[in-house]
Symmetry: C2
Subunit: 285 residues, 2 copies
Amino acid sequence: MIIDRLWARVKERGPICVGLDPSEDVYPPGFGAEFPSPAEAALRFCQEIAAATGDLVACFKVQIAHFEALGVDGLRAYRDLLRQLRGEGHLVIGDAKRGDIASTAAHYARAHLGGEFAADFLTVNAYFGFDAVAPFLPYLESGEHGLFVLVRTSNPSAGEFQDVPVAGRPLYVHVAERVALWGEPYRRSSGYSLLGAVVGAGREVLAYLRPRFPSLFFLVPGYGAQGGRAEDVAPAFREGNGAVVVAARSVLAAHRGKPAPLEGFPRYAREAVQAMAEDLAPWLR
Amino acid sequence: MIIDRLWARVKERGPICVGLDPSEDVYPPGFGAEFPSPAEAALRFCQEIAAATGDLVACFKVQIAHFEALGVDGLRAYRDLLRQLRGEGHLVIGDAKRGDIASTAAHYARAHLGGEFAADFLTVNAYFGFDAVAPFLPYLESGEHGLFVLVRTSNPSAGEFQDVPVAGRPLYVHVAERVALWGEPYRRSSGYSLLGAVVGAGREVLAYLRPRFPSLFFLVPGYGAQGGRAEDVAPAFREGNGAVVVAARSVLAAHRGKPAPLEGFPRYAREAVQAMAEDLAPWLR
């Protein structure tokens, strides 16, 4: 049961999820020139980061947009990266945030859970309501796959629609209620459902949602480079589990301003994960 | 100015947008066996449909999910199809419904407006609010690209979140207001903005939105196989323009129950478009 495996990883290694978002913005100076294509550079960069941090993380989150921007070659690199990471025993979240009407969602489900781009978990957008999520559910029956549904995101404009008051409560609470309801049949032995929620680093939002939705495992973006601090993500946890916290840029670009970034970037990434683990530790007890 | 070109196409040819959603569900019996891969079959099917209907339509909408389900080969077919259709002078909507935080959305914008998968128009999901739409806007400056932002979709569960009452009005009205506001700087000579809206076939919703949002060009799914009738899409128009109506399955699978479907499917698709044009004509005056 994939959600129980994620829970066990958090228990064993802590709640860090390294976000693999490759781009020239985060490469060390000089990186990439030796590869035949930008897609190959992206793949190699992620492989290096994963090799340097894999034993410290609960899971990896791979952002497909960064590969999609590189075209067909980029998507081949995305596929190969997911295959490799999962083959090595890592848990992988495909961060695609897909969402469409049911007949279309069935194709996305096939692509990202059953097909060539299969991940352990997929992020989905539920603006279409339940019937857009339903086509993903058959892939959850085996227990081998899970979803994280967007509830409350971490970006500055998140509140523009997500916080609009609905019957006195923000819309995202309404969404969380539905996600918990949809996920009830998929609760597993850890107590968490195979349907989890994306909830951005924000102290008040997390503190409100955590006790009210005990079955929802949280995928928490927004720590580090996006501005979230340890105390902002702390309320996501229950007994030190039930959530993974994403760090991407703060890990990938940890070489910034350091000596020998090109040679040292994997080590700097590892040190950044270790520093993050120390930063979070007091809040996990 | 791409929105003015779309307006001119509607004026010249009527408001039909054929949705290219290839899958075994819509292929005639026996189709596909002669091609080396499912991706090649999807590409060829779409090419045949486009060749048979291209002079009758305002634009094509290509559903990327159907190609994504076929993996890397599928996305190569998507790329090649868009390049071919645009090269032939057709207007093409890339139906990807992407949406993410700004730094990620910038990669999607690069992929689908500036890069290998470039379309004339792209559908986007605005659940993240304005900052997730902003990275697409630089591609609109030249006038060569436009967006259709999800406002109200056509699926049975659409109302679950989109219709929740916000200050006495459904959420989708709130979204439409923002889209119109964001799009104000992008109004072009036809009076329509390069930022349009996806609004499903529904008489009441369209009748409410059309007079209130004169700058929004509507992309209207839901006609035909999804249940929408001509009178349900009629309120989308203003003087017979300002909207395109999508038909996919009703055109792609028009061969069902007809003689010689394998040889005749392009002709049946053409006849289905012609029948749809006749069905809509009384409502365009």
